[in-house]
Amino acid sequence: MLAIDAIWQAETQQKIFRALLNCMSLPGEIADLSPYLGNSSALLGVLATLLDGTVSLSDEDELISQQVRHLLQAHTASSEIANFVVKDATKPPQEGFLPNLGELPNPEKGATLILQGETLGVGDLPLLLRGPGVNGTRKVSIAEFHPEWFIHRQQWVENFPLGIDLFLVTFTQVMAIPRAITIENLKLKI
């Protein structure tokens, strides 16, 4: 008998979703998804929870296997137009990379970016967050997420409500930085 990985089960997806909602409500909060993931990564757990045939996915770095892509049902789109964009964030964004920022009357069309890196909670890249969901300011340190992603993000979100919403994932953890959040300690140079 074929065992279905936990992340494809409705009960697991409800739990992962609540963790994601909590993260989105409390930017900087780090959720440990490992109790729900079985053998899968947090990236796959997030995608299995949120995607179906009605949304589009860009995976130019090929982080997802063909078999899993099929199960996700989402159709493939280029990173400029996809609803969900998955990137290997240990490397800087490619020259000219620009996700969909939405439109003023329809800002929800701004993409959800899922950046995969190494470490959340400790590391050499401190982020000082301010905005909705943060009580004052909140500092969170991360590692092996290329800093250029956050410098670009600052530009993508500067015209609120246009922008993108970020999930940062490691192998088992997830954290969110929605577009309304300001990262205060970034030196704006690329």
């Binding site: 494809w8 009960e11 989105m24 299995a48 949120l50 329809n106 969901g133 943060v134 009580n135």
Partner: protein, 311 residues
């Protein structure tokens, strides 16, 4: 009676839900799955909720499913609740502050039938999830709690602009000039705030929301709240949110500031609840058996717990 009606509605609707996602194996003896909605409908609501939280105050459109309860009785709120709820949830349902109104009882029974394992409570403090219509509980909501408010009319701009397309542009530009003018004209005319419910409230300094038909008394509770507040309008197919620790400012003018309902009597004393004696709660006006006006807490669980504390 209500129970059998609900069961019948579920079975009728269950047939039209169609083939279930292969991923969702959880069914029970009624052969509908946990949370009633199919997993595709939940995913749609869940994606919408994440965008609503990410863009505070923005009304995110979504594909709303038919529900086996009459519209106007909280389909939007119920869809959010069913997309959030897990078997370890502790749910409270209130309508107009009461746990025992027909609407609240109906929704509670529906959830009890379709979500086995969920614990139902009346205690505001112990609920992980609260679905409500027309009130935010008296007891201050805590960090980690989620409040789902049912919304009949989500767009505060509808009073000044009939075209949804134009309203979306106005929202996107943060252009509320016409709403300000309308508000100001009302205030000049009546020398005070005449809006009793659905008071337009600006979220995080950008979008103005209709906070649903809560009294003005409850609007300040949205400001820098610890709990997450979610708003669902089923008929209009919109979901919006006020995240925790977010500014929620009722629109007001320096010469006529926002104020909550006034519960002082002719002598200038704060009216009290005739049942529990509370001097701080939102009061309903009732007529007693002798035809006299009396006042009682609108939040029935709060009133009960005040009485309990006195024993």
């Amino acid at each position: 009676m209500i129970q059998s009606l609900t069961d019948e509605a579920i079975q009728k609707n269950g047939a039209s839900v169609g083939v279930l996602n292969t991923a969702s194996s959880e069914t029970n003896r009624y052969n509908y799955q946990f949370g009633f909605l199919d997993e595709y409908a939940k995913k749609e609501v869940r994606r919408t909720l994440l965008k609503a939280v990410a863009i505070p105050g923005y009304q995110v459109p979504y594909a709303s499913r038919e529900m086996p309860i009459a519209r106007g009785f909280g389909t939007g709120g119920l869809q959010i609740t069913l997309s959030l709820i897990g078997s370890n949830e502790i749910l409270k349902v209130i309508d107009q502050g009461s746990d025992d109104s027909v609407n609240a009882v109906n929704i509670r029974k529906f959830v009890a039938t379709t979500c086995p394992g969920v614990t139902l409570t009346r205690q505001t403090a112990e609920a992980t999830l609260i679905q409500s219509r027309h009130r935010i509980p008296e007891k201050r909501l805590k960090f980690g709690q989620i409040l789902v408010l049912q919304v009949p009319y989500p767009d505060p701009l509808v009073v000044v602009e009939p075209s949804e397309e134009k309203r979306k542009i106005m929202h996107g530009d943060g252009d509320y000039a016409r709403l300000w003018v309308k508000l100001y004209e009302d205030m000049v005319k009546f020398k005070e705030i005449t809006i009793s419910h659905r008071y337009p409230t600006r979220i995080n300094g950008f979008y103005v929301i209709d906070p649903s038909p809560i009294p003005r008394f409850d609007v300040p509770k949205l400001h820098q709240a610890e709990a997450l507040c979610l708003f669902g309008a089923g008929r209009e197919k919109k979901i919006y949110a006020v995240p925790p620790y977010t500014d929620a400012e009722p629109l007001s003018f320096s010469d006529i500031p926002f104020r909550v309902e006034d519960f002082t009597d002719e002598q200038g004393n704060r009216r009290t609840c005739q049942r529990c004696g509370s001097m701080t709660s939102f009061l309903n006006e009732l007529i007693d058996s002798k035809g006299a006006k009396v006042y009682q807490c609108s939040d029935s669980n709060y009133c009960d717990s005040q009485l309990g504390d006195q024993k």
